[in-house]
Amino acid sequence: MNGTSQIGKLFLTLALTLLLVGLTFGVLASFVYINPNFLKDTLGFVALRPLHVSLVTFWIIIGANGGVMSALQILYPNKLSNKLATTQLLLWLIAIVGVMSSYFHKDFGGREYWEFNPIWALPIALAWVLYLVNFFRVIKTAEKWPVYVWMWMSGGLFFMFTFLENYLWVFPYFREHFVTDMTIQWKVNGSLVGSWNQLLYGTAFFIMDKISGDNKVGYSKLAFGMYFLGLFNLMFNWGHHIYTLPTESYIRYIGYGVSMTEWIFFARILFSWKQSVSDIKKHYHYFPYRFIMASDFWVFANMGQAIIMSIPALNLYTHGTHVTVAHAMGTTIGINTMILLAACFVFLKSDCITYNKPTRLLNTTFWLMQGGLLLFWLALNIAGIKKGIWQNSAHQIEYHQLMKQLIPYFTLFSIAGIILLITLFITGGVLLYHFIRCTNQSIKNQPVFTAQKSTTI
């Protein structure tokens, strides 16, 4: 079996495993909102939350790497360096063990979302350098890049830049200036998410391109227009996170103005809905497509929410509330995870298992997952709106009283989390089981997209 054809799959299966472990910690953390004493004297929320956040973040980043590498292997066969990719994978494994051990021993030190001892950022940064070297080795010979290659290139470069920028706080020069430090922190958070979105949307574009069989779309002016608009937002829209921070006005106005260009994405989704419905009808029975379709729905819901939250006058009611959590989780689960699951179903298939038609189990699980996510999203939004009203009210009750009033919504959020955990365990379990089974059978790989012509009839 060719090593390079397998390496993307190894990244995807590692990422999938991290998702399942990370979700388990997420559900455990959600119980603390209902029972404050839950695991208080052992791990506690202080370790459960970063365990959840870091592992699901790694699912997205490592999964995005796996998706890009698998796609590159199809586009430019045997060009990826197996040695570089394997070293990258080993560095990731070292980082994951280090990060988890750091949390279990409560050896914190980093910023929010990257709270582990900063030493473990080194193997991650090094792994990313190797990824970039490998990526550019492959694409440097390609003559004209389709839009998804541009997206992968931008995502890769900007992830590297912002990941390093994320550690500027180690220099007292930055840390001594409270407002600048927080400005940089949220500049990084905004651009990092934009970077992995470029990697994932590129992969989603690649999959759709191959499903439709229309290779011209990847070179169209509209596709490039949307790509540059996304890149522009990645670079400049992050100011919408810090409207309440006493930073310079121009930063807040740039964030506000650039965020409003997202109306163009929103309008595009609305104008193309007829085409989308027709595409859904055409490809509905091709199972991986189902997840791309789901991600489209969640793009619509979360982008509408994001635009509303980006208007400063309305942001006063959503900032620092669970509406923000609903948005963060709605996008990471609804968009990022759905695209990555589609990628797993496409790239982890072989002639041992194709996933072209869903089994009853996978079909039911898919719809339960979407229902669970909707409940999850709604419960957080309602809790967030209630907190938003509280933080703007003239007569505030105590914070702990507010949190007590929100327990029914947190209970719903926990139940929805359990539904997501179960459905993702089933979906991920099926993917991992067949991957191990097929690898053991050592059946010779065939080109990934050969069986899909039937889906476009």
Binding site: E115, S154, W169, R175, T180, A313, T321, Q391
Partner: protein, 135 residues
């Protein structure tokens, strides 16, 4: 001139770098204040991260959601109360045994956060263009 993807990409990257470095040079333009010691506050930020306070607490609405926002806790509570809460814990917050030197640094960080502004959303005005501004 024909606008190619490469040209547009380089142009955007240039704008991004200029914007980034405009932000990076801000600390060098800062006027020193007497309200807190910036170098001790910078050490205090490391203590804030060491005990992962951000996991549950926010500053300017940014951070965790389990506990209250601590931007102006320094002016709302006195040092003894802050030390008491940290040392004994409350509800889901465990008791933290923080050495005195670390507590002093953490307190300086909270003093710096408090001096930077007010995080009470009720003090904001909404401008006609939709932007918000502290009263």
């Amino acid at each position: 001139m024909r606008i190619t993807p490469t040209y547009l990409f380089v142009l955007l990257c240039f704008g991004f770098l200029v914007y980034s470095f405009t932000i990076y040079i801000k600390p060098s333009q800062q006027i020193k204040t007497q309200q807190f010691d910036a170098s001790i506050a910078a050490e205090g930020k490391l203590i804030w991260q060491k005990y992962n306070c951000q996991s549950c607490h926010q500053l300017y609405g940014l951070g965790g959601y389990l506990g209250p926002d601590l931007t102006n806790v320094y002016s709302r509570k006195n040092e003894t109360i802050i030390k008491g809460i940290i040392g004994s814990g409350v509800r889901s917050m465990p008791a933290f045994q923080i050495p005195d030197d670390e507590f002093t640094k953490l307190l300086e960080f909270l003093k710096q956060a408090d001096a930077s502004g007010n995080a009470d959303y009720r003090n904001y005005n909404v401008l006609p263009n939709g932007m918000i501004e502290m009263q």
